[in-house]
């Protein structure tokens, strides 16, 4: 049969796409490139729509970390939290902690939020699904830019010492975003079907914040100490904070190792996401 090489031929069968892994990877790459422009449009649309109907607008991006920090500072001043040997003032510790942890939590919520916002499109139009992942990245990056600005302003106001290694903090910051988006993408297949996941993410975020050195230093012993020690988020948050304030780079190797694992898990999540979308469409369709 004469085949025109310029004409794409697609065959849909009940078989899993995983049976042809090379073909799958190739189409993932193609769709990633093809989805860039759409991702930008969706990002602009979602961002515009998200805050257009609110009086405080973009202030909502910085309000949660400020509020969280304020609560912890208040608790600390009442000596509810034991914070010693921080190497910096408590407000600086909390604000850097919440800002960097926020990158993770925003990243974790972004994929499901994008999928939910694009549901009408998803179930009716075929477009490169990777655009949704790119949109999630873009949203997290926007929150990163705003948070870094917020952090800079706060550190200046608190007259904190800023280490010369501060620009390097972009590495653990990227790691926190990657970690968050990785978890978020892995949750999409279940989360698009069950609302429980979206509701659970809020709970999970608060719980994770308590077992990560965000508002207080890891205790020296006890269950919490063990959890914090093995919590893969801890080195990332500690590393970011140290690079900005103290210039300590001891957590950098662990950070890089964790980022590598996150990257692998992210690609697995991406494959799962691709496999799950047609099933999500048929379950949520019409």
């Amino acid at each position: 049969m004469p085949r025109d090489p310029h004409i794409e031929e697609r065959t849909y069968t009940p078989d899993s796409e995983l049976r042809h892994p090379l073909r799958l990877l190739r189409s993932m790459g193609t769709d990633l490139v093809a989805g860039r422009e759409l991702a930008w449009r969706l990002f602009v649309r979602d961002t515009a729509a998200q805050y257009r109907q609110s009086a405080l607008g973009y202030f909502w991006v910085i309000l949660p970390p400020l509020a969280t920090s304020a609560i912890f500072i208040l608790l600390n001043s009442a000596n509810v939290i034991v914070s010693k040997d921080l190497g910096m003032s408590y407000p600086v510790y909390v604000i850097t902690g919440t800002v960097f942890f926020g990158l993770f939590s925003d990243g974790m919520a972004a994929p499901l939020k994008t999928v939910a916002a694009s549901k009408p499109l998803l179930i009716k139009v075929r477009f490169p699904r990777e655009a949704l992942l790119l949109t999630a990245w873009a949203q997290t990056l926007l929150s990163f830019v705003i948070r870094v600005g917020l952090l800079a302003v706060c550190l200046v106001l608190l007259r904190a010492h800023i280490a010369p290694t501060a620009p390097l903090a972009i590495i653990p910051a990227a790691g926190l975003m990657l970690f968050g988006i990785m978890v978020g993408v892995l949750l999409v297949p279940l989360g698009a079907l069950y609302q429980d996941i979206t509701l659970g993410i809020v709970l999970l975020t608060s719980a994770l914040m308590l077992v990560t050195p965000v508002a207080f230093a890891p205790p020296s012993s006890g269950a919490l100490a063990t959890i914090m020690h093995y919590n893969p988020l801890s080195p990332l948050v500690l590393c970011a904070r140290d690079l900005v304030v103290t210039g300590d780079t001891s957590n950098l190797p662990a950070t890089l190792a964790i980022m590598g694992v996150c990257l692998v898990l992210f690609v697995i999540g991406w494959v799962l996401f691709r496999l799950a979308v047609p099933i999500i469409v048929e379950r949520l369709g019409s």
Binding site: E9, T11, L42, V125, R283
Partner: protein
């Protein structure tokens, strides 16, 4: 694919859906799990609460061909379209598509109500794979096609549904896909817009593209499509040339209408109740139309009414423009002076014409005991539809009712004889079947200054 011109090949395509949401979500999780380990979840069978939304559907669309999908709501048309669009995977069978596929599925999708028409066009265009430069280039054409020059910068939430649909179609109209999927979009928008859409579809088809078209309008299927697929409960009830499928679909609708009207007749019409029920009972039992009114103290009893085809055989159906005979067997317990028989042919409750001895004149001077009267109509001037035949019999002076008017038979005129008529018009089948019931032969003549230039003859 065996043939390079075959652009859509669908073989044994099946899709199952679940009736309950909770279970459906759970199956979804299991299906995703199966996908992730490279296996198929419950292949080829239904799980609890599932049904086949599409069941073993096969068809082919070639370049330059337009396929119409017809069927009542819930027959699987939209499911099939979604699968053609690659939104869902089949549960059995295979679907091969060659080239770029674009769909016109519910156009408002992705329109953000707060954003302006122009902003939404940009988003929609990006979703459909157009670059920013391309979009800017065709923006004036899109606005013009949609006829929204004055409103394009207003928020979409102030648009009417027709305006939204027009804008959506306008965006897609700028694309040049190999396969275009259209889901009932032509039901929205005014006449001028529909014309525009038709022209656009025609242009696409002529440029060797394929179109799959879901519609409820059989007129559109006959006028536009080459082939048609009629879906019923997810199964392909008929697939073939558009005209043939439209005929079968209309046949089916008529049979349903006939059954429904019979049931309604039994329910309300006091006088025709007995005859109606008798007609259908007898027909079901013996396969021949008959009617009886078993009142014994009357001057006349109708024992049976039969419909005879041109060959004299009893029948239920007659070909278009054929001879027809109605045979009435009656019984008169006592001598009756000059009975006058009248047959009224009705459709939709309206009398169309009458074969009446009140006009034609009396028969024998008297009848008594059993007798038969036949009314022969050499050419029944009725288009393919179902007709009700009502009978009433008057006494010799034409004053007293011997038999009050009642429905005694149904005639179904089929389109079997259509081949005898030229039928050159683009909607001949639909218009004959769904248009006016009476058919009279005619000739159209066109004159210019030079004289007669053109003749269109309907004669058979």
């Amino acid at each position: 694919m065996t043939d390079a011109a075959e652009i859509v090949v669908c073989r044994g395509l099946s899709k199952r859906f679940c009736r309950r949401l909770k279970r459906s979500l759970w199956y979804g999780v299991r299906d995703i799990g199966a996908e992730a380990v490279g296996r198929r979840s419950a292949p080829g069978r239904l799980r609890r609460e599932e049904f086949w939304a599409l069941d073993d559907v096969s068809f082919t669309v070639r370049r330059g061909e337009m396929l119409g999908l017809i069927g009542v709501n819930g027959s699987g048309k939209s499911t099939l379209l979604k699968m053609l669009n690659g939104l869902m995977k089949p549960d059995a069978g295979a679907l091969t598509l060659r080239g770029e596929v674009q769909a016109l599925i519910e156009l408002g999708a992705g329109f953000n109500p707060i954003l302006s028409g122009r902003e939404n066009v940009r988003i929609n265009a990006a979703v459909l794979g157009m670059s920013k430069a391309q979009t800017d280039l065709v923006m004036p054409e899109i606005v013009e096609f949609a006829g929204l020059e004055d409103f394009i910068d207003a928020p979409v939430q102030n648009y009417s549904s027709g305006m939204k649909a027009r804008l959506g179609f306008a965006v897609v109209s700028q694309l040049d896909p190999d396969v275009l999927l259209i889901d009932e979009v032509l039901s929205v928008g005014d006449m001028a817009f529909q014309e525009k859409c038709m022209r656009r579809m025609d242009a696409l088809r002529k440029s060797n593209r394929a179109i799959v078209f879901v519609t409820h309008s059989l007129y559109q299927v006959e006028a536009l499509c080459d082939s048609a697929l009629w879906l019923e409960h997810g199964k392909a009830r008929k697939y073939g040339p558009a005209g043939d499928v439209v005929r079968s679909y209309l046949d089916d609708q008529e049979m349903r209408a006939m059954r429904d009207s019979a049931e309604e007749g039994v329910a309300y019409e006091g006088r025709s109740t007995v005859a109606t029920r008798a007609y259908f009972d007898a027909r079901d039992a013996a396969g021949s139309p008959s009617a009886s009114a078993p009142q014994t103290d009357q001057a006349m009893v109708i024992e049976s009414v039969q419909l005879l085809a041109a060959n004299g055989e009893p029948c239920e159906e007659l070909p278009f423009l054929s001879a027809c005979t109605v045979r009435i067997r009656f019984y008169c317990p006592r001598r009756i002076h000059q009975p006058l028989f009248n047959l009224r042919f009705c459709h939709g409750g309206h009398g169309l014409f009458e074969a009446s001895m009140l006009i034609d004149g009396p028969g024998p001077s008297a009848v008594e005991g059993s007798g038969t009267v036949e009314c022969h109509i050499p050419l029944l001037p009725l288009t393919p539809k179902v007709y009700e035949v009502k009978l009433f019999v008057r006494s010799g002076e034409g004053i007293a009712d011997l038999i009050e008017m009642r429905a005694v038979a149904w005639i179904r005129v089929t389109d079997e004889g259509l081949d005898a008529v030229p039928l050159r018009g683009p909607m001949a089948i639909n218009h004959l079947r769904q248009g006016s019931p009476v058919y009279v032969p005619r000739t159209w003549r066109f004159y210019e200054e030079s004289g007669l230039t053109h003749t269109v003859d309907s004669r058979y």
